[in-house]
């Protein structure tokens, strides 16, 4: 499984990548915002996207909308990372067809559970 981790904070990217590595996923690319993520998506194939919400240039929500509108990528599972578990935000994410969300700060276990939940509900049990 190949992951794309999108976050403007290098520290956050490291944290997520470390967690993924601890689950045994070593194939990970990173992007600092939505635009960079789209560029990566255009040239490489990914199986799972974990994206932050609030980023400069292009937010995680905008990224999600762009992916969902693109027939070649709309099947990609997206897990949204947000700092605020606010109702309004989550509903917003839901409308954009994010597959699930996880609220910062999370433990690797929580991330794992959310990833499992996404993969299970979309019928892939790759983990």
């Amino acid at each position: 499984m190949k992951f794309l981790v999108v976050d403007d904070s290098p520290t956050m990217r490291r944290i997520v990548i470390n967690a993924l590595a601890s689950f045994g996923f070593k194939e990970v690319s990173e992007a600092a915002d939505g635009q960079e993520a789209l560029a990566k998506l255009a040239s490489e194939n990914f199986d799972f996207i974990i994206t932050d919400w609030n980023m400069p240039n292009m937010s995680g929500l905008e990224l999600t909308l762009a992916i969902r509108e693109d027939p070649s990528m709309k099947h990609l599972p997206i897990l949204m990372v947000t700092t605020r578990g606010l109702k309004q935000d989550i509903v917003e994410a839901l409308k954009a067809k994010v597959n699930n969300y996880v609220v910062k700060p999370f433990t690797p276990q929580v991330l794992r559970e959310k990833m499992d939940a996404v993969l299970k509900s979309i019928g892939k049990s790759g983990l």
Binding site: I15, N18, A42, N54, P71, K87, V91, L94, I122
Partner: protein, 661 residues
């Protein structure tokens, strides 16, 4: 909670990254918060500020730094209201956000030194809460209602299609959920998860169709994908280079006293690293050629062609070496804007403190300077800005009365002049009165009445650099412990730089700081004293004159030399360095005139040998610091020579003569 006890090297590495990142975010914040004061309607800027706090909160909470995360959370709350236009930005809010910035900065700094974050910030939190809710806000209700009607329309369409009760519809029609500001309750959480489940079901169905299309061999999507893609400009990458000093040292093992600061890392533009790579490639080529030529020359030592090739290769290696030298130097260079970044905040706070109106103009921020120098310049700069705000710029009333614009101006300017960086700090304030300065110095017993009467204005300005001249040093929140101008000068001299003042009564003052581009490599003037060679930093050499007996005489047992119309004290280097059997006569010897600000002396040497680029090496621990010697260097022929500390020599002469310190 959250002591930075990262024994895990991986966690330690993340922590170091966190420190760099947070400091950068804080720098951005302080800049943006200054700008927002002038552009309160800039929504982009508010979003940027929000994002910075947001990221700090996110990473801090991961690292377990709950104090930072907590206080940042409150800042984020208020910014959220600003973002949604539920609140208007005003001065108290900016003040509050700046305070939060300072608290985070302080906490991060103590984390860096290995302390556990702590402190009671309930006061600021209460203040934020107050500002956040300035009374009932009916506008919010209005906004919310509009939003939900839109959603209702959307969902009613769906429910016609599908009469089955849908969790997704439940969520979207639930006003409390759609516009709620709080976290979810248990039931709501279950509902929202069910809604996600539904989205994912739909997602699977949609993708089954996609898979079907793709399976049938048609790559329908490819061209579309290209066209729908935004053009992306690639930002220059920044590579992080480790200074691997204390990389694996866990930060806070013992108490704060034993704690080591986190290892230093710097960010370097990838292009600069690549230039260096190319150059080292060329160096390798040169070396290989050299090795080959050496072999050939051993075989036929008299072959002219070989010798010409050798000198060509030497020239090439010479060229590459200086290119590498400057490339490496550039790696350590940072724009001086980094130093000036804090100035707007300082001026703002001081103007408030002193009830003045001051505009700050910053020029030449892109001028690059060695990072080591930048760090050492911070305190002197803060002090000088403080001086300009306090003593320079007049109160608005006073300015209007004398026909000046109400708002005073302080200008920070930077420029590269040859191998030096020149910084200017100027104000359009009241300027300095040389007579008053003299009177004060006499009163304090620093100079005598006679000395005062013969002193020029320029010399009088220099008085403020003398220890003990500065009056009661106020402790302020900005400069922290007050340092006098003497400390400023000492700091700058330690950086091999100099500081000058010019001032016109009534129109303002200017402080000019001249610094070398780097501390490691200097141009040196090689001189001979008896059998020894010494190097004088060329940056402080003003001129060299041959001794003419008639121009030398003595005042108060101090040897002086008259050059044109100026009289300069003389220092015999052989005597100062206690060389054995010094020459007594001055015949056929040279005087090197060196200067530091407006202080000049003539240094007597036996002979001048030439000019050379020299690399400064410290004397090492066993020799420690030796008065009059700044360091050592190795010459091309392998000889080790000493580099003269001109600053110390000038101080030595002046302490004995004019000011009797």
């Amino acid at each position: 909670m959250g002591a930075p006890l990262f024994n895990d090297p991986e966690m330690q590495e993340i922590f170091e990254g966190y420190l760099i990142e947070t400091r950068e975010l804080l720098d951005n914040l302080s800049q943006d918060l200054m700008i927002i004061e002038k552009q309160p309607d800039d929504l982009e800027l508010i979003n940027g500020i929000f994002r910075n706090f947001h990221t700090i909160k996110g990473t801090s909470s991961f690292m377990g730094f709950s104090v930072i995360a907590g206080i940042t959370h409150h800042a984020e709350d208020i910014l959220n209201k600003l973002r949604r236009n539920e609140l208007k930005i005003n001065l108290p809010i900016i003040d509050c956000l700046l305070q939060v910035h300072d608290i985070i900065e302080g906490s991060v700094e103590s984390l860096r030194t290995g302390e556990i974050e702590s402190g009671d910030f309930s006061e600021i939190i209460n203040k934020i809460e107050e500002l956040k809710n300035p009374g009932a806000a009916p506008d919010i209700e209005l906004l919310v209602n509009e939003d939900t009607t839109g959603n209702k329309k959307d969902s009613s369409k769906k429910s016609k299609k599908d009469t089955q009760k849908s969790a997704l519809d439940d969520v979207l029609t639930n006003q409390e959920l759609v516009s709620g500001q709080d976290d979810f309750s248990e039931e709501e959480l279950a509902l929202i998860q069910a809604a996600f489940e539904e989205v994912n079901q739909q997602f699977v169905q949609d993708n089954a169709q996609v898979a079907f299309i793709q399976d049938s061999g048609q790559q329908v999507s490819q061209p579309e994908k290209l066209s729908s893609e935004p053009v992306i400009e690639k930002k220059p990458e920044i590579k992080q280079v480790e200074h691997s000093k204390t990389t694996n040292a866990p930060i806070a093992k013992a108490g704060a006293a034993a704690a080591k600061p986190a290892s230093e890392t710097i960010r370097i533009d990838v292009n600069r690293v690549e230039t260096l790579m190319d150059l080292s490639g060329e160096l390798v080529l040169g070396r290989n050629r050299l090795a080959q030529i050496t072999d050939l020359i051993q075989l036929e030592p008299d072959n002219k062609d070989r010798i010409r090739e050798l000198s060509e290769t030497t020239a090439q290696i010479d060229f590459v070496t200086s290119e590498i030298q400057s490339a490496v130097m550039r790696m350590r260079m940072v724009p001086i804007g980094k130093l000036y970044q804090k100035a707007p905040r300082i001026v703002r706070d001081l103007a408030k403190e002193f009830n003045k109106k001051i505009n700050l103009v910053v020029k030449g921020e892109e001028t690059e300077i060695d990072r080591g120098i930048i760090e050492e310049l911070n305190d002197p700069l803060v002090h000088m800005i403080r001086n300009s705000c306090d003593h320079g710029v007049e109160s608005p009333e006073e300015r209007v009365k004398i026909g000046k614009p109400e708002i005073g101006t302080i200008t920070l300017d930077a420029d590269q002049e040859g191998n030096n960086i020149v910084l200017r700090i100027s104000d359009d304030g009241r300027g300095m009165d040389p007579e008053k300065l003299k009177a004060k110095a006499v009163e304090k017993g620093i100079i005598t009445q006679e000395q005062a009467s013969t002193m020029t204005s320029r010399e009088a300005f220099q008085l403020i650099f003398l220890p003990g001249f500065s009056t009661a040093v106020k402790v302020s929140s900005v400069s922290g412990r007050g340092v006098g101008m003497d400390v400023v000068r000492t700091n700058i001299q330690n950086l091999k730089g100099m500081i000058e003042i010019d001032s016109t009564l009534g129109t303002g003052s200017i402080f000019i700081i001249k610094l070398p581009l780097t501390l490691a490599i200097i141009q040196g003037l090689l001189v001979r004293v008896k059998n020894e060679t010494y190097a004088l930093p060329l940056s402080s050499v003003l001129e060299v004159v041959a001794i003419d007996d008639e121009s030398i005489y003595s005042i108060n047992q101090q040897e002086v030399i008259r050059i044109r119309k100026e009289v300069l004290p003389l220092l015999r280097l052989d005597l100062a360095l206690k060389v054995k059997d010094p020459k007594t006569d001055l015949k056929d010897r040279n005087v090197v005139v060196v200067g530091l600000g407006t202080h000049k002396i003539g240094i007597v040497v036996d002979d001048l040998l030439g000019q050379q680029e020299i690399v400064i090496k410290s004397l090492g621990e066993y020799l420690g610091s030796i008065s009059g010697i700044a360091g050592s260097t190795i010459l091309g022929d392998g000889r080790v020579i000493m580099i003269i500390d001109v600053t110390q020599l000038i101080q030595l002469v002046f302490s004995k003569t004019i000011f009797k310190m």
